[in-house]
């Protein structure tokens, strides 16, 4: 594994833009600058791609998880709220 050594300020300058870039919220001009930089910087391309993949993985893994309330937790919640008679 290579260690990412920043020899110039460019990579650093673009770091603060990466979240907006992967979210598609970066303005067109900055987007072009970043993509131009990435075209000549393999390290930054890897960082951007793995950053996006990281966010995707969390999103996928958590959306697959159940969002329901366990039945026992639900019963105790409704009881505490005095809503037992309205529990579905």
């Amino acid at each position: 594994m290579a260690e990412h050594v920043h020899n110039h300020e460019n990579c650093k300058k673009y770091l603060s833009l990466l979240s907006d870039y992967i979210d598609g919220n970066l303005n067109e001009e900055m987007c072009e600058h970043l993509e131009e930089h990435m075209a000549g910087c393999d390290d930054c391309t890897i960082v951007v791609n793995t950053l996006k993949r990281t966010v995707d993985l969390y999103h996928t893994s958590t959306t697959e998880e159940s969002q329901g309330l366990p039945e026992d937790v639900k019963s105790r919640l409704y009881k505490r709220l005095s809503l037992d008679d309205l529990k579905k």
């Binding site: 920043h6 979240s19 390290d43 960082v47 793995t50 999103h59 919640l77 709220l81 309205l86």
Partner: protein, 199 residues
């Protein structure tokens, strides 16, 4: 009650403000699962999450007459839940993984792990071991970063909603989100690099 979709809840605010039990029960029915899982991700401990869940709805019910509707009902509930979670976290003795203090004005740490693991097959990226790693990596984040990350990238709140829930500026939310994502990327990159090395 009018409901547009699962992410945008639009109840009869008047009924809720009047502490109507039926309307409140509907609100609890529709939102408690999501709030519970958010609390569980923030607090990890099931009992703490359940206690915070109950407190969230007790406080919500008490505060309903004063709900002004300036934020959405979902954002309002998330804010009460997030405050409950923060209170629990503050009461706990400092944990080794959460004592790290993140200063928002500090320079963002540069990436060090440069390994392209995007090419790994999907089944490997989402197997049980990796899922455990994802959970462990998120738990290593400081509370400030974790809150923003969970609300933005797991719960899918917008930057504006996250800022409203946590009482932060949009710029602080953006900075914390970037820091959190970069830290998680570092953790996962080191993990996948090891996996790739071992074939």
């Amino acid at each position: 009650m009018v409901r547009s979709d699962s992410s945008t809840i639009s109840y009869s605010i008047d009924a809720l403000r009047g502490q109507d039990r039926d309307a409140f029960a509907e609100l609890v029915e529709d939102t408690s699962g999501q709030i519970y899982h958010l609390l569980l991700r923030m607090l990890v401990n099931e009992q703490d999450a359940e206690d915070a869940l109950q407190e969230t709805y007790i406080k919500a019910f008490q505060a309903l007459p004063n709900f002004e509707g300036r934020s959405s009902l979902k954002t309002w509930l998330y804010r009460i839940a997030a405050n409950e979670a923060l209170m629990v976290l503050r009461k706990r003795k400092p944990q080794p993984q959460t004592v790290e203090i993140d200063k928002d004005d500090e320079e963002i740490e540069e990436p060090r792990e440069i390994v392209d693991w995007c090419c790994l097959p999907e089944r490997e990226l989402l197997d049980q071991e990796t899922r455990s790693k994802l959970t462990a990596a998120a738990q290593k984040l400081s509370d400030n970063l974790k809150m923003v990350f969970l609300l933005r990238d797991v719960e899918g709140l917008s930057g504006e909603e996250t800022a409203a829930v946590l009482g932060l500026s949009i710029d602080v939310v953006k900075t914390r989100l970037l820091r959190a994502r970069l830290k998680l990327r570092e953790e996962l990159s080191a993990y996948f690099a090891e996996k790739m090395k071992n074939g």
